[in-house]
Structures are given as C-alpha cells and as structure tokens.
Symmetry: C5
C-alpha cells in the first residue's frame, strides 16, 4: 500500500496527493530533486512493480519482501539498501514489538518499505518538509529523516524497559512475590531489542564518517546525531542486561534467605508446642508414686507451667528474631 509519495525539489514538496509508482519513477529521473515513496506492508506484486519501475536489485527486493532481516546498509553500485528494525514497547505485556523498514536509496529516489505497526513515517516526512535546507541535499535527507525517526522511537522502548526493571527491583527487594519469571522475560526482551539495535551502529558510523553514501559534512552531522543516539541506546541496553543478570542472582539469594526465615519460624513454633507436649507426657507416666498427681492443684499447675513454657519460648524466639 502506498502511504505517501511526492517529489521534493528546490527545498519544497512538489505534489499534494501520493503519486502512483510509474509517475514517481519518471519524476525520479528528472535532474534536481528526488522522489520519496513510502509503502506500508506491500504485497509481492506491488514490490515487484516498484522494483521494476525503479530498477532495484533482485537481492535487495528479496530482502525487502522477507521480514526478520538483520539491520544493515548495502551498497549496490551507488544505490543503497538499508534495513532497519523498528521497535515499540507494549508496556502491558512487557514485550517489545518489532517491525521493519527497508529503504532503497538511489539517485533521485528514496523508497521506504515499512512492515509492522511501529515507527509510522508520516512525522518523519513532515519534519523533513519543514527543512528546505535538508531537502536540497537529496535522497540522503530522506534516509536521515527515516533513521532519525526509527532511532528516536528506540528511546521510549529503552525507557519503558528501564521503568520495568525498576519495578522488578522493587518486587525483588520489596515483596514476597516471586520475580524470577518476570526478570527472565524482561531480560529476553532486552536481548532481542539489543539484537535489533546493535548491528545498526556499524553502518551508522560509516554514514557518520561519510565512508558509504557521499554526503557533505553538513548532513554527516545529522547522521552523527543519529549514530550517537543509537550508541546511547546500545550502551543502555548493555547495562540493562547486566542489571537483570544481577537481579536474577540477587533474587536467588533472597529466595534462599526467605527460606531460611521460614525454616526458623517453623522451627520456633515446633519448639513452642513440643515443650508442653513433653510436660504432658511426663504426667502421663503411670508411676505409682508421683506426688504431683494426687495434689488438687496438680492439674492447673501443670497447665500453668505449660503456658509459662510457651510464653517463655515465644519471647525467646522473638528476641533471637526467629519469629
């Protein structure tokens, strides 16, 4: 599905509605300016039509059709193919939802193929449209706008994970509930998100240094800004992983510790009941000559002794903090 498509020239957008693929391809060949074509979840036929109209490379098209690609930047004789993984945090389910954006950059065109719900590119386009100086740069500006949007959308994900890690810490150190499962799956999300972010750093650094796509220094700074954000997210994720590993271990120590407390409490209560039982069994003995048995106050006294033993033991266990 074509989401939007327009030609950009001399700093401003030339068309209102979305152009169709053929017109877009024709406009892309005009010197000066470029066409930005945005597709969302296109079917095979659509992709093929676009591929033919713009002369895209077979391998890149294949990658754009498949999902679950690794983030990368590939050079096809001066045209480029970029794979980005988008992310959105579902705080309810504590899961990171991944999508994908494939960008074809060529002389005169930038084609963005988006899969999944995350990182809707309308705002990226509007942001670029507000910057005539960047539009003049050509298709690389569209690439920057897309990258910037995708990487900016990583930050709420990382923040959401950070937030849940703090919740998990409170759970571990605060309550009684077992956080093992939550820590484990949070860590799984962090690992998967890291796999989406980390491979992006190398291509971004080559963009930042102007090694791959030839852009002037002015634009390189914008790519450097994106690379910098990515590195920040990457380092944050790295530390989150480490924190969660530590949380798993701390959790284990606390589980063992609580077991210890449970055993102490149980044992204390067992002792408290065992002592009067022993006293009762003493007076259950059948000796002929047990003077206490004949005494009128024998029975109430025995009960009193039992009560006293219970209270003394209870107090004792309180003092040594077993209860």
């Amino acid at each position: 599905m074509i989401v939007d498509c327009a030609q950009y020239r001399e700093g401003i957008r030339q068309d209102v509605g979305p152009l169709d693929v053929r017109t877009a391809a024709a406009r892309a060949k005009e010197p000066g300016g470029f066409v930005w074509l945005g597709l969302h979840a296109p079917d095979e036929a659509e992709l093929e039509e676009v591929g033919e109209a713009f002369g895209l490379h077979e391998l890149a098209l294949e990658d754009a059709a498949n999902k679950h690609q690794r983030p990368k930047l590939e050079d096809y004789d001066g045209s480029y193919f970029v794979v980005l993984r988008t992310a959105r945090y579902d705080d309810e389910r504590e899961e990171v939802e991944f999508g994908e954006i494939n960008v074809f950059l060529g002389s005169g065109y930038a084609i963005a193929v988006r899969h999944g719900a995350a990182s809707e590119l309308g705002s990226a386009r509007r942001r670029l449209e507000a910057r005539p100086d960047l539009i003049e740069v050509g298709p690389a500006a569209a690439a920057w706008a897309i990258l910037d949007k995708v990487v900016d959308d990583y930050e709420p994900v990382a923040a959401g994970l950070d937030n849940d890690i703090q919740e998990v810490e409170e759970e571990v150190f605060g309550g009684e509930s077992d956080a093992t499962q939550r820590i484990y799956f949070l860590r799984r999300e962090v690992i998967e998100f890291h796999r989406a972010v980390q491979p992006l750093i190398a291509p971004l650094e080559s963009l930042e240094k102007g090694i791959v796509v030839q852009v002037d220094e002015h634009v390189q700074r914008y790519f450097r800004d994106v690379a910098d954000h990515t590195r920040r997210v990457d380092e944050q994720l790295h530390d989150q992983r480490d924190l969660l590993t530590g949380a798993l271990e701390a959790n284990l120590a606390l589980v063992t510790l609580r077991q210890n407390n449970v055993i102490r409490a149980i044992s204390a209560w067992a002792a408290i009941i065992t002592v009067p039982t022993f006293i009762a069994s003493v007076y259950g003995m059948n000796f002929e000559h047990m003077p206490e048995l004949d005494s009128k106050i024998g029975y109430p006294l025995a009960l009193l002794v039992m009560l006293a033993a219970v209270l003394a033991l209870h107090r004792f266990f309180r003092r040594i903090e077993w209860l």
Copy 2:
C-alpha cells in the same frame, strides 16, 4: 560416489548424466565454462583419483578425507579449498547433526565433496542451472550456490533450537518437571552449532569484499547475501546461548522457590497434626483431679476442640498461603 557431474558453459549445462572423473578433468581444461563435480562420502581411492585428475593439493585432499574440520577458506595459488560444516536439526532427539562439505575451486572446475546426510546439493545445482547469468561467472558461481544452500539450511536449525528454547521456558516457568538436563543439553547443541557457524564468517567476509577469490562486484553481492545470513544465524546463536544460561539460573531460583513452598506446606500440616496431639496428651495426664475427665461430654468436647483446632489452623495456613 559421484552424485552428479556436468560441464557448464555459456550459461547452460552441457551434459545430462554424470561425467566420469577423467572426462570431467579433460573438460575442465577447455577454456570458457567449468565443470561441477559432486561427490558424496567418497572412499580414499575415489578421492585420490579426483585429486590426481584435477591436480589438487595434498594438504587439501588430506583435509577432505578427514571429517571434523574447522570451516575455512584456503588459497592454493589461485585455486581454493573451502571447508563447510552442514547442519540438520533432529527435533525428536533435540540434537544437531553435523556433516561436512569440502569444495575445491580451480580455474575450470568446482568439486564438492560431501560427508553426512545434511544439505544435499541437488537443489543448489538446480538453482544455479536456472540462472545462466551466474553460470557465466565461472566456478565461483558453483561455490556461491553451495554456500547459499548450506547457510540456508542453518536457518531451520536455528529456528528449531529457538522453538525448543521456548518449550524449555514453558517447562521452567510452567510445570513441576525439572528442565535442568534439557537446558544443559540444548545449550550444548547451541555451543556446538555456534562452533560450526562462527568460523565461517571471516572467510565469507573476505569473499564479500572480493579479497580472496577474484569475482566481479555482481557476484560479490551474492556472497554478501550469504555472509549476511551467516551473521544473522551467528548473532541468533549467541543470544540463544545467553538465554539458556539465564534459563539455567532462573530454573535454579525456581527449584529453590518450590522447595520453599514444599517446606511450608509440610510444616503447616505438621502444625495441624501437632496441636490436637498436644491436646490429647494433656488429657492423657494422670492427675487425680481433672474435672473434665469425669464429665460425660468431656470426650466428645475434646474431640470437637481438636477438630476446631485443625480447622482453624488449616484456615490460618491457607490465609498466609502456606497451603
């Protein structure tokens, strides 16, 4: 055993049935085109014959005869020797079965020596035969077809492992059964598979950049595609290893936690039975003057008190979630 052997020239396969080794070696010397000879589990004599006919290097032949090689790409004065490890996932036994493919590449020939059941190369050959443009490239195209097949076959293995990891997670966090052994051996498979995949990345990257075998940019992109898939599998395996390490730790925490629950339940039941026993022992005392003993309703009342104690304790332990 020769599986298939044919000369490829001007974009098409020249022969129907498999050529014998001598004819193949003669054809390989003809300019233009190349011979692709496929062997499966050859005996020593066969390998020797092939080695002599094509003039292969002694050390490479030795490696091709031995199994359990490390994936590698070696340059012998413009002819090349590639070792690949093939993999197939036996989901039933949760084991990765490894095989091996050795490829000799020279001017005019590509010889594939396969050991083990995995990655049968017939489909790779058919895929190449459908691409005259690649056949024109020469023996490197056969190398690509083989590499592509082998690496494509890694993905179901990685997916199978992913699937079993999810099963193991459900086992760890769901049931009562102990997943320790399964996690351990799954992790072992991941480690071994990683050892088969990871050393392949460096040679593939040198192919991708055209450092070793001289191929034009067109073919480099196909090698880049293979390298990219390998990197993806490699990263996936790296994370699987990390996940399984975490699963082992989470499992330990849960085992300890369940022990805790068992101890609580046991202690609760012990308390429930201990209190009425204590009551009984009180009335087993032999004091002369115990008014309750003479009462007609003494006995039923004692039983009632016992029952009340049991019910009250049971309720109490329910409330504090020990039962």
Copy 3:
C-alpha cells in the same frame, strides 16, 4: 544563568564582573585571547541568545538543552562541542548524583553550560587564571581546566564506592544482616557511573594525541594527564563491578551456609527434647507388669534419666559443633 564571563588575553583575565552575552560575543571576535562564558542551568531563551550571538550549531544547542547525553566530543568545522557527565557521591544514600557540562569551543570562545549540582567550575577558572602560560594557549586551555575539574571530581566518587564496597564486605562476612540489596544497588551505581565515565576515554585519547582539536604538544600533555586519570577511574570501576558480582555470589554461599547452621541447631534441639519425650511415653504404657512403675524411686529416677539424656545429647551436639 550566567555564572561568570570574562575575556582572557596575554595570560591574564581582562574583566572583573561577568560580561553579558553580547559583549562577550563581540570580544570573542577580537584577535588574540578568548572569552570564557560559564552558564548554569540556562533556560531555553538564554541558550538561544548565546547560540545566536556565538553562531553555535543547531544540533549542538539541542544537545545542550537536553540532559542525559552521552559523553562525547564533536567537531563542527573547527569548532567543537564536548559533553561531559559530572558525578558526586551521596554517601548517605549510597547514590551517585549525575550532572552534565556541555562545552562549546570555537576560535575565541569557550562556553560551559552546566546542569546539576556537581563539579562547580569556579575553582577550574581560578586554577586557569593562576597559569598565564596556559591562558596563552587559547580556548583549549579552558577546555582542559573544565575536563580536569570534572575528572578530578570522579575520584572521590570512585573512592566513596570503594569505601562502601569494603563496608559491604564486612557486612557479608561479618554479621548476620543480609547484604543482598545493598550489594545489588551499589553495583547498580557502579554500572551507571561506569556508563558516565567510559565513553569519555575515546575523545580524551584523541585530544591527547592531538587528533581533533589542534593544540601544541605542551597542552597535549595536560590532556594526557586528564585521560590518564579517566582510565584509572575506568579500570577501578571495572574491577568494582567484578568485585560486587563476586560479593553477590559469596553472599549467596554464606546465606546457604547459615541456613545449614540454623537447620543443625534446630535439629539438635529437636533431638534433645524428643528423647525424654520418648522415655516418658514408655512409662505411659499401660502394661500390667512394669516393675519400675511400682518402685518408689521410679518417678524421680525417670526424671533423672531424662535429665541425663538431655545433658548428654546437649554435650554431644556441642562437640560435633551443631550447637
């Protein structure tokens, strides 16, 4: 808020009170000498005014307005933008408080924008003012003075963490109290502090080698000195992290061990009470012919035997160190 602003020329400070932004920007354009403008927690308008007056780059200004940046050094066509994270240790709460200093360096000016309480720059300015030879170097000297102050302030933080680690070790190996939570959160602080320090090393090393800002060898040594301090703090933090991981594990072993001791003590006491109870239950049997029952000294003897059993068992458990 402008904290201080003055022109430095021919080795000495030219102005007493803080210059306003416009005057400072005008002075910055005079050849020879430079202006050092220090801002603390400026609002948007102030930053914008400064940006306009000195012609600072939009992206750098954006970064200076946002907090939570990653330490970095960026080159904007011969002017530079440095982000530093400042740190202060709150020993009471065992937390590292982070702030941020952004430095804009250009020909003729050095602008420091500070957020947060840590690393007040007045002392850095005074230190520079005492060194006419460094003032002559130009704005890079101001950069050095700021970096030196920030990194010097890292050392008490690292020392504070070291100190708390020693306290935690005493807690782990000494007392009964559970150190899990404290270890975990101390480790969290170390990880976060490490994230503030570590990214600073790469830009400092490029300063040290004179790759980025062009400074003569004399000043490079001063940057090398700062880089060296940063590396030392970085290594110290790395080891602290490792130590705390070890402490978490040692703590777990000790918790388990103490549980062991508790179980032993409990069991010993249980045994001590069980044996006399058994004796009592023997004499509670209703056999017709139990000679002891008729004996006058039966009862006191039984009590004596019980006492003897208790003492013997107590002594035994003392000897095997269960009590």
Copy 4:
C-alpha cells in the same frame, strides 16, 4: 642428552648416528643443507656448549634452560627462537602433563631442546626424512615437522578431555554421586591446557602469512595447516570451558533438586507415622466416658484404623510423587 643429530642436504639425511655438537656446528656452516640437532633435558653444561658452538643468543639460552615458558616465537636478527608447550593426557588421573620444546632456528641449523616426556620428536624427524621436497626448504622444514608433531599431539588431549566431560555429564545427570570436584578439576585442566595452546596461535599465524621467517608459499601452506589445527583445538577448549561452567551450574540445580526430593520423602514418612501416633494419643486420654474403650473390638479396630491411615497416606504421597 643428544637424542639425534644429522645433516640434511639435497633432500636426504647425510649421517647415520648422532653427530657431536662441534661437528654439527661445523656442518651447519656449510652452504646448502642444514643440521637438525635434537636434545632431551640437557644439563646446563650441554646447553652452554651448544650455545657457544652455534652462537645462540644469551636470552634465548636462558629461556631454554628454564621451564614453564610461555609459547612464543622470537626473532634474533634472522635467527629464531620458538617455545612450544607439549601436552599429554593422563586419563587415569584426569590430568594434562605438560612438557616443553625450545627450537633454535638459524641459517644452517635447527636445534630442538625438549623437556618432559610428551611429544617425542623421533617420529617428526622420520616424517621429514620421508619428504625430500621439504628437506630442501632448509631449517624451516624441521621447525614445521616439530610444530606439526606438537600440535598433532594436542588433539588426543582435547579428545581425552572431551571424553571425560561426557563422563562427567553422565555422572551429573545420571547418578547420585557428586560430580562437583571432578567438574572443577577437569575445568582447571582445560584452563591450563588453554594457556599452553592459545598463545601459540599468534606466532603460527605470522608464520602462516610469511611475516616472520622467510619461507616460500609452498611451506607457508604447511604452517597454515598447523595453525589451523591449533585454532581448532583452541576453539574446542574454549567451548569445553564454557560447557564445564554450565555443568557446574546444572550440577548445583540438581543437587538442590535432589535435596527437595529428600525433604519430600522425609516429610511424607513423618506424616505417615504422625497420624497413627495421634490416634494412639487420643485413646490414651483418661476420660471416664469413652465408649470405644470398653468395646471388645475397640483395640483391634484402633489398630486397623491406624493401618488404614498409614496405607491411605502412603498411597496419597505416592500419587503426588513425594515417595
């Protein structure tokens, strides 16, 4: 002790018995051919004599006299000094026995100084003597023969460790016996063996690429073969270390789990005995009016009820798998 010493020239060995040091040194100076002198555990005087006769460097001689060297390759102005660590697996004691071979390579001579029992070099010499084409290469061929022998001898060690790891796995997951100590010491052996193997890779790779010793491409391939074997062993050891770390953790989980089972069984039996004891204590009460007490079938009935309780409880605990 001189084990063997001969001159090799024009592809064949020139002498039968071992030459003495002086003759060997004289022969080494003849152009064409080289002398291979093999020493085993020489005393100081012998080493000194050899050093003087061949003009070996003081520091290299010192290293050859000391044991416990780190594997290395050192260049002394066109003559070379190689330190290798040999290994042999004592399967009985599950220990790797280390030895050492020092090789001095110069124009016209190769001197091998062996300490320890492992990797006897006679077979390496015979292997070289069967290859006139390699003998022609000069002393580097002797170096290759020695390296090849030493590294080939690593493989049975790695295989022996692999085998013991599998035994340990069976012990961990199969029986009741505690494998902790065996895992720990196996891991220690792996770590020590790794320290012997790993530093060898860098010098072998510089030999493989012809960076250090000047050898033609033909011989480089033989060094590449050795480097390849070393890398394989190195990767295998790396994974063994990881597996054993995992085994230690799995072992801990299983130990805890078995403890769980023990506690369950114990508790089940305790419950089984506690219930009839409670019943007995009920009928031990001294109430006047307990109708069951007067009944003739009271006692057998009580015994029956006890038995029924025991059987029912036993069955119950069987069903919930506590027994």
Copy 5:
C-alpha cells in the same frame, strides 16, 4: 632519601658513594655516559630539588609525588616518565602489598623514585654494573634493569597466589570449614594485582618494538624479555581469577550438598526415635481389652520390639547412605 647515585660511563661505574643531586645533574650534562639517581620515599622538597636540577616536567613530578598511579610510559619531548607498580606477597595475611617506582629517563640521566617496601633496586643496579655492554647503551639500560627487577618480583607474588589457590581448593573439597571468605579475598587480591600488571603490557610492547624510546635492536630484545614475563604473569592472573570464580561456585554446590547430607542424617535419626515412640503410645491407649497389657512378658517384649525397630531402621538408613 637518596639511596644511591653514580655516573656510568664507558661500561663502568665512575663513583663510589652516592653523588648529591647538584653534582649528579652536572655530570648528566657531560656527553657520553649517564647518571643513575635512586631515591626512596623522597619528601616534597627533595623531589622539587631533583626536578629543578634535571629540568623535569611539572606533571611528571606531580605524579611522582602522588602514590596510587596507573602504570604508564609517557613521552615528554624525548625524555620519558615511567610509572611502575611493585608488588610483594604477604603470605601470612594473604595480601599483596603494592609499592610504586617512578622512573625519569632523559638524555644523560635515569632517576628512580621508589615508594613502598617492595622491589628494592640495589640488586638491579648491581646486575647492570656487571654488564658493561648494556651500560654503554645509556639510560635505557637503567630503565631495563629496573623494569626487569620489578617484573621478576611479580613472579613470586603470582606463585604465592597460585599456592594459596591450591590450599583453598583443598579446603573446599577436603574439609568441613567454609572457604567462602578466603576465596573471596584471594580473588580480590588477584583482581588488584591484575590491575597493577595489566596496564604495563602496552607500554612494554611499545618499548619492545622500539616505538617509543629509541634503542637499538640489541636492547629491544631485553625489553621483549621483560614484556614476555609480564604477559606470562598477566595470563596467569587471568586464569587465577577464572579459577577462583569457579571455586566460589563449586564451594556453593558443596555447601548445598553438605546441607543435604545434614538433613538426611537428621531425618534418619528422627525416624529412628519416632517409631518406638509410636509403639509406646499404642500401649499407652486405655482400651479395656488389650491382651498384651496383661501378659507378663508384654513390657519386656514391647521394649524388645522398640529396640529391634531402632536397629532395623539404623541399618536401613546406613544402607541407603543417609547415615
């Protein structure tokens, strides 16, 4: 305090007693030969005097006054400043004591400033004085002599740690005593020692390759020898750290395992006492018709049955190895 100071020229020491600072500085300016000035724990004034006399750089002097520096090699326009950390093992307290040696190298002088007790340099000086060929090299020879001494002194420290690790292993796998604390603090020492040794490798390697100080190949070999020793110690420490981490985990498994054994033994004894108590409680029931009660041999029989039960249970628990 000046420990020793002399001029070295034409291969021999020129002066007997220690020169004073001024004379030494004057001699240092004479062409040919160099002055080696050794200071131990100098006060500020002494350092200042030396700095002035020899024209040392302010930053280097500052570092030499402070302790707790990071090992490093700094270039000051052809004169050099080296920081070394010395180590000595206090076997009694299982602690590594650190000291520091700062070396200033310039044309004509080598100044060693030592703090702490370790690595007294007298023997290094005597060793150099015995080697006229090295003295001719100039101040770099003094640097070598000092480095060699310091690094040689690392080896007994590493050996001492190795020895204590073996003791700890025996403690873990042998006795009952808890080794947690000892493992933890031994690991702390290893980590700290590693921090002293590891940063030294990079500067030593640049010396070894002649990148920094200009020395001829002859002397480079001596630096290579020192670098090699440092690498060996570094690798040994790396493995010790790994071993101790493993020991901590093995220790935890064994602690849990011993707990298991304790629980089994306790439970067995509990069962042994519970059964006869149950029998006694049966004969404590007050049924009218209990034939055993009237029997003359009832009581002794009951006691016999109890004894038999105790013996049978004891034997049973022996067989299943709970006792």
